[in-house]
Amino acid sequence: MSRFGKGKRGPGAEFTWDADPGGEPDTAPTPLYPAYVVPYARKITSKEQAEVDKSRRLRELFHEGPYYSVVDASASSAKKGSAARANFDPFTGMPSYSGRYQKKHRTIPRISGIGRDYETRFFPRELWQIIQPNFRPDASLDGYQAQSNAVSNKRGFEDEEDEEEAAAKRRATGGNEDDGDDDQNEGELLDGDEDAIESIADDDFQDDEDDMGGDYDAEKYFDDGGDDYGDDDGGGGDEEAY
């Protein structure tokens, strides 16, 4: 018996990389770009294409429809200090005349006034006011406490600031929320063309005056003495009080 077992291999022979000239040794580093079979998807068949077109069409319908609404992320009317406000792009976010044809998104689903009548019994009682604007919850009290009253009950852990602000606004405008006059409504998509232009003209800048606090406000900078074009905006007139 020789020192190295059968005498064929020296010490450390099991670690050499050329032990097996044909194949990859176990300890070799993995190749950087291993041969890789890229799987290809099958071609779309005509049936699939038809299905896709149909679903796309339906999606389009939904998006054009009255219920589709976005969270108004890039408006300058967003809450101070919120992420939405930070994301506002003052360069392209500013409304311009050519923007009048731009696709508009509503910020609130339109439920009533679209020519549909809803089956009231399918909806919970607290939403009846939404689907039937002339429904008065207090009118039909038969010993049953309407749910909408319970909403205002504070539970302590709600967003205090939010509530206060909303309350203050409500007090200031002197109307209740369902009047449709509050600022949320301005973002809503309006139907007529004139309305569309108007909605651009009476942009939400002036809302900022409510809660001024920052030292410098790029939008505000150009907005001093804005009263001279304040005559144009009929819709936002109620804001001028402050």
Binding site: A41, I44, E48, Q49, A50, E51, V52, D53, K54, S55, R56, R57, L58, E60, L61, F62, E64, G65, Y67, Y68, S69, V70, V71, Y101, Q102, K103, T107, I108, P109, R110, I111, R116, D117, Y118, E119, R121, F122, F123, P124, R125, E126, L127, Q129, I130, I131, Y144, Q145, Q147, A150, V151, N153, R155, E158, D159, D162, A166, E177, D178, D182, Q184
Partner: protein, 628 residues
Amino acid sequence: MISQRIFSILQRYERLTLPRLKFHSRLNDRQLRHALAAMIQHHLIYHFTSLEDGNTYYEANPQAAYYLVRSGKILQLVESRLGEYASRLMEAILYLGHASVSELEVRPELRSRNPVAANRIKHEEEDPQANGLDVEEEPATTNGDHAVDDKPAPFHATLKALASHGYILRVRDAHFQSPSDNLLEAQRAVAARSDIKALKGKKQEEAIKERAQELVQERTSGDLTQGLMYNGLPRGIKRKFGNGSVDRQPQNHHNGVNGDHAEDEEQQKEEEENEWSEDEDGFDNIPMESGMAVRVNYEKLDVALRNARFVDLAQQDAPAVTAELYACLLRRVEYVTPRCRDAEEIPREKEEGEQFSTPISVQTLLEDIDPSMDLTGALGPADPSQAMNRRGKRPLENGVNGDYDDADDADEASSGAMRAYLVNQHLGLLSQPPFDLASSVTLSVGPSKWRVGFRGLARKLRHLELERMIESRFGDVALRVVRVLQAKGKLDEKRLQEISLLPFKDLRQTLASMQRGGFVDLQEVPKDAQRQPSKTIFLWYYDADRVCSSILEDTYKAMSRTLQRIKHERTLEKDFLEKTERSDVKGHEEEYLTEGELERLQRWRNKEALFLAAIARLDDMVAVFRDY
């Protein structure tokens, strides 16, 4: 997008009352209420008003949300079954969530049967895009065919056809509550009944359970097929074979009929009715109860889609005629199958009993199939040896067989019998392994009937899907190993190697990679208390259920990633796409866009179609693993 936020919050926090929902979603009251109303209209959330505390709870309805993915398939299916107009009606119902018959009737896009006109109306109102798509992608079929005629749409007939097929159902109050709420409420109602209160202990529990099930059934069933079936056939089905042609394209069929009566308005109308109701004296045009609200019946549509899948399977290795016969059989079965399975969950492998469909007699099938269909072409000559082979299956057919041999010279009387024999032959072909797509029931008297074992077939589909995936991921060796494991159960490596006849090296590599992928797993069976590895048996096993559920999760994930990818791709092209969506450009793309832009738009559409088709394919898998 407001709805998206509400939905995800409801998914995360389960059920919430309005104040809590408001708190979590950071939306204002107005947004929240309007969005909730819209979502309820679309059945995307359940609501439940508790009688005890008077609160209304909202809960997400993930099923309804998921089925939005399948809407394209559903519309395509309806179109292929009942024609283009039915598909548009279905689209309107989908779009409206649920809608009353009277509301649907006055929808402008459903007034005329001419889709172009409908699009034009929509174009003024809301939806020019659809028009643009149509013009570009199916100019030959829809627009070309219907460009001439403009007559009142067969609204009521179509709605009835949809209803009798079970594709739509009546909306009930219980549909707005989650299934568990429904069950609990039913249980409470049942428990309050005096005859139940009289029972004691276990008996009472059982009775409550049973009655509550019944009550839920009764409250949620919105079946409209009752009373609309005619000789076991739904309305509107006649038109398929009405002309005695093999025409499978409803649009073409449409076209033919329209072309025939293009001149006289009055006569047109009459013909129209005749097309739909040949022997029912215009019954179809009697409107349905106008106050009734209808919605899409996804369960039933799943049955139809599953059947389409089976037909695809049959087409793989059976002649076209056979597949067509099979489609007839399945359609007959579909009319009496309300849902894919009764159990909520897919039962575990091997614990699942077979559940056969209603047997359908050959005679019924013969009435259904097109009389001019060539049954003989695909089959070999009926030589005695073949007949002998098949005799084991259907001993009753000996006589028929004899008839056939004599009737080669087209004897009128025996031609019916011959066709019946041929139908049996075709279906016999399908009843062969590996798929066992149909099976025959032989009654003691009368001709044999055919039925479909759905549970076994659904299982087969699942296995095929898994095997396809395993083969593409791990190669054919893995496929063999999995099949061996499935047939033999748990095996140790040595036995596995002996059975699968594979070299140890390949086997081990494959097993290891499959274990890493979670497809096979190892069980330790220690021989002594010390659990020494040397004295432990290691058994490989393959648990199809577990693999199925993990694949299902993966598929969901893949779908969501594809959707995210679409979104991302959209943001890459955002500026351009916003331009094409401008209200003045939309619908007039050719006018306003340059050639390069048009090309770019087309490229984008093709790309999006690829993604959407990928999602549709993933949805096929989800259907196999979850719904069938």
